[in-house]
Symmetry: C3
Subunit: 274 residues, 3 copies
């Protein structure tokens, strides 16, 4: 279907086969599915993948599907931002930070603007931006193998994807701070108790139960769902744009700080020694 | 007492006896009680009942009671809007939709404006607007036989009673969407876990425990309670009026859409065949 | 260390020894600790203690610690405002109410403005303003012996410390009202389930587990934590100032009302008869 091509856009359509794509988009049964498909790197998100997702969401917003679903290939849902986006930047950190902030802002806005029900099927551990984005989803189903981890302070960074606004709103400051400032990792049950996750399923029946349910939801009158979502979200859209812009400005400066550069270098060098 | 008469106002005072009233209002022990009393129709709300409730709330806001309580007669708390309000409209759907939107807005505003503690004693299943209104209550006590169901999308409709604002605020978008967009029915325990319900009681002791507690609360200094409620609610009153107005405008259009008319006709015809 | 002196400021530095101070401030391992230290009165807060805490927070905001922690000496965390602040006022209630409102506003603003992670280690029962303040903390750890009680209506008073805004936001109106209007006392587990408390620990291991964790958090990059906190809190800072100002204005009037004076007199006279 046409939506499969859309995730490639002008990038890579000639050089990659479907199987090798890091973001795979399919559409059937009224559901457009966007898959983090880079299991060898725990589905870490490269600059290219951010761009592919922006295009995939643009396409899904006008295709004939009723709802859109994110999930991951393999054991991980998504391990977050690929830190080599910075360390392997061809023109140095400053250029990478500038480009990164522009891209991040556009990426997050494409979630804020998405007009149909947006569902995360969290099949395993979720880290960083794949967690913070969940505050912009309409439903989140998690396997009991999923965990939710935002180690921003540990990496000398700060929160993004509007989580500095959505997380305290969803779970209160006493629990949002443990995640966003102290980097506490949540189990799926904890994330459910705090309102970040809609429902938790046993790993053994997770896929079957969730997709059965989603196929039923995809048959509901699409206009009613879209209008109800718009009613819910329009109350805070301007706020979300502003928070996103500010988080990106602060991150751009933070990425160049000694605190952050040292933390990222340590992280990457630990990884490469394993 | 005088508050018993108020629910009738100019409607029906001559034609009905107390026992046949669909909304019954009584006042004692510092508590004004407003009862959905149409058990043969699972306490579904007619146009007349909306008007009776508006008058009852107006009267209760200035009577000498300290708190006001809603509950239902029989097994149901309330099955929501009576859909025959539309299908039996004497001047057709368009007129009914226009009148319905005006009435709904005034009805919901009378909950936004109510100055004393407002408590729901949910004795059984609650559906539609009787659920969405709970976001405007100050306390909600539920029997463990209660359920909470808002099948708006299923009926080609959208959410009302400010629930597009209050529900995400109370339970986060991941759980509000399951209710408001996907029509998931909650048990009393689930509604409690999500903050919609203050406390759940076993059916066998429900009435006794709740009324004992409410009678004690009704003896607290009324001015302190009223001022504290005003402090809590004034922060969002303007927002609530605006959300209510917008939800009603959207519903008026939705009621005339093919999606909605078909869904209501199917629902009513299924019912009438039973 | 210098922060020990700061809590005395110009008050009492000459007249009291460290041991007799009602607010004790120490700083080590990157943590500034502010202790309610008046166990003979269940750590009730006098006018002097409010002033000492304002100074301690001012000092902690610029010292070299990463996080600041409140806790209590003895069985209680804090029993709230010392009601003899009013009954023993040298120039009468009116003067005490006026001064009290000014002091309360400055006191609460010093929590709104505090720039580093602020943690409560709730070692036992918490009452009144020591509970309502928790909505301004970034993390709250509670022993299972802790309880949370705000009997404002019982005392003819109204809520303070921005709780009329933070509590409904954290726990929804159905649960905030039970606490703030009806004076329901919560167990530690209930407060956790409602998002007011980050985590509950068994009394036997409470101190050991909490301080181990806090010492680890205090080693995280301080700038990242401070900036993340600023991002989270700046979204509502203006709102919090306004709510605080209004709550204080209302309380000042309330303290002089018959409802309140009678309630306080009854409370104090019951206590003195024990």
């Amino acid at each position: 279907p046409s939506s499969q091509a859309s995730s490639q856009g002008k990038h890579g359509a000639d050089e990659k086969t479907q199987e090798s794509k890091n973001i795979v988009v399919t559409s059937e049964d009224g559901i457009t599915k966007i898959v983090f498909n880079r299991p060898a790197k725990k589905n870490a998100i490269t600059f290219q993948m951010y761009q592919d997702i922006i295009l995939a969401l643009k396409s899904a917003s006008t295709d004939n599907s009723a709802i859109t679903v994110f999930t991951g290939t393999g054991d991980y849902y998504c391990s977050g931002n690929d830190l080599t986006n910075f360390t392997s930047a061809p023109n140095g950190m400053e250029e990478a930070a500038r480009k990164g902030a522009v891209l991040l802002r556009e990426f997050v806005n494409s979630f804020i603007d998405f007009p149909k029900p947006l569902v995360a099927v969290v099949n395993g551990p979720a880290v960083g931006i794949s967690v913070t984005l969940l505050g912009l989803f309409d439903a989140v189903y998690a396997s009991d193998t999923a965990t939710f981890h935002t180690p921003f302070s540990q990496l000398g960074q700060t929160s993004e994807a509007c989580s500095s606004y959505t997380f305290p709103k969803i779970m209160g400051p006493a629990k949002a701070t443990e995640m966003l400032l102290f980097g506490k990792k949540l189990t799926a049950r904890e994330a459910w108790a705090q309102g970040l996750v809609s429902e938790v399923f046993p790993e053994s029946t997770f896929e079957k139960e969730v997709w059965t349910r989603l196929k039923a939801y995809a048959k509901l009158p699409p206009n009613s769902m879209r209008i109800s979502k718009e009613l819910i979200r329009k109350n805070e859209k301007e706020k979300l744009y502003a928070v996103n812009a500010e988080e990106c400005t602060i991150l751009q400066a933070k990425w160049l700080s000694e605190e952050c550069v040292n933390a990222i270098m340590n992280f990457v060098s630990r990884k490469s020694k394993l």
